[in-house]
């Protein structure tokens, strides 16, 4: 039953306050959120609405001042530092606006790195890294260094690295923020494909309406609160829209 599915990520009355007294800022105010596995959620909102804070909290990069976060049913507040590090490494993948790749490592070495840190043998890590590169259409670039790749390719490489541990949840913070529109559309098509074909769960923060619109669900934040939620998964399929357009011309 759908109702019994453990959410990939869940936030309950999640709050984050920075500073105190006059400098007190409530970045997030009692956010409730559930993301079922295999769903693609986009978070939008003006600057300072709490989007990035939400993403950092859900990824365990920052600690809440109120409420709780569950990743695959596991409450982050019950984990010690070592357990949290492991959970972050194994169950959560991150991609950022900056690609954060290591220039001295080749594509396949960049992708293999999380596996090696996790203690996997070099041969096995290399094989898994290659599989992840294939998934993002970058297998032929395996021996290239990041500096020799286009922005779009670097972001695809960063996505491969984020996916190599087969994370339950992929968190994307403005993943197309540094890309031109052609490369942006490619990266977005890749993310959409990962959801449709691999059942990857994605939560993405973005300024771009066009990119947010590719998600299944939209969340609008304002002043640290969810002010609007919209389910887009019941819209007409692309094939139907194409038929209508072809009938026009």
């Amino acid at each position: 039953m759908m109702g019994d599915t453990i959410p990939a990520v869940e936030a309950r009355a999640l709050s984050r306050v920075y500073g105190s007294g006059d400098a007190r800022v409530e970045a997030l105010r009692e956010i409730d959120l559930r993301v079922e596995p295999g769903r693609f959620v986009a978070v939008m909102g003006p600057s300072g609405s709490g989007k990035s804070t939400l993403l950092h909290l859900l990824g365990g990069l920052d600690a809440p001042t109120g409420g709780s976060i569950l990743i695959g049913g596991e409450d982050l507040s019950r984990l010690n530092d070592d357990q949290l590090t492991l959970l972050r490494r194994r169950r959560i993948g991150f991609i950022f606006q900056a690609f954060n790749l290591l220039d001295v490592l080749s594509a396949v070495e960049n992708v293999a790195l999380p596996l090696l840190i996790d203690g996997m043998s070099e041969a096995a890590a290399h094989a898994d890294a290659l599989a992840a590169l294939t998934l993002v259409g970058m297998a032929e670039r395996r021996d290239h260094f990041p500096g020799r790749l286009s922005g779009g390719e670097q972001q695809r490489l960063a996505i491969a690295r984020a996916l190599v541990m087969r994370p339950l949840l992929l968190l994307a913070d403005e993943p197309t923020g540094n890309l031109d529109s052609g490369n942006s559309d490619q990266v977005m098509a890749l993310l959409r494909g990962l959801v449709d074909k691999q059942g990857q769960t994605i939560l993405m923060v973005t300024h771009s309406a066009r990119h947010a619109a590719l998600a299944d669900r939209l969340i609008h934040l304002r002043d640290g609160r969810i002010v609007e939620e919209q389910d887009l998964s019941r819209c007409r399929p692309a094939s139907k829209v194409l038929e209508d357009l072809e009938a026009l011309s």
């Binding site: 977005m188 066009r210 590719l214 609007e228 887009l232 819209c235 007409r236 194409l242």
Partner: protein, 138 residues
């Protein structure tokens, strides 16, 4: 289409000749006259009428709602935005599909036009929200 061809013929922009075919009805082959080619060139060279859509229905709704005591224009912004995102979801997925399937250039460019117009409209809705919010706080 045939009424258009007839009209162009009447105006002296289009000529045709009848070609007989064996085992099939005669066919008409149309060709632009000299005046027709001139007219076509002029049309191509002149800037198109820009449709700025200044009688925009959403705009009118917002301005009416602003003057009614029991209607919140911000609710109209929210519902228009939802409708716009639904349309953008369909069109963006279709655009991505068109790229993948190598659809005709004409289809891809037409979808780009639709995507960019929807994006612009969403930006305008954001702007409306910002301004209307300030007004309601006064």
């Amino acid at each position: 289409m045939y009424t258009t061809l007839e009209r162009l013929g009447r105006d002296g922009l289009l000529a045709h000749e009848v070609v007989s075919q064996s085992e099939r009805p005669d066919k008409k082959v149309y060709v632009l006259t000299k005046a027709g080619r001139k007219e076509l060139k002029e049309w191509l060279a002149a800037p198109s009428r820009l449709d700025l859509d200044l009688r925009n229905e959403t705009f009118i709704k917002l301005m009416v709602a602003r003057r009614l005591p029991d209607t919140d224009p911000l609710e109209i912004v929210a519902s228009e935005r939802r409708a716009c995102f639904e349309r953008l979801h369909e069109i963006s997925l279709t655009r991505a599909q068109a790229e993948k399937d190598g659809e005709a250039l004409s289809m891809r460019l037409l979808l780009d036009l639709a995507v960019l117009r929807l994006e612009a409209f969403l930006k305008w809705l954001d702007r409306c929200e910002e301004v209307l919010r300030k007004e309601s706080q006064r």
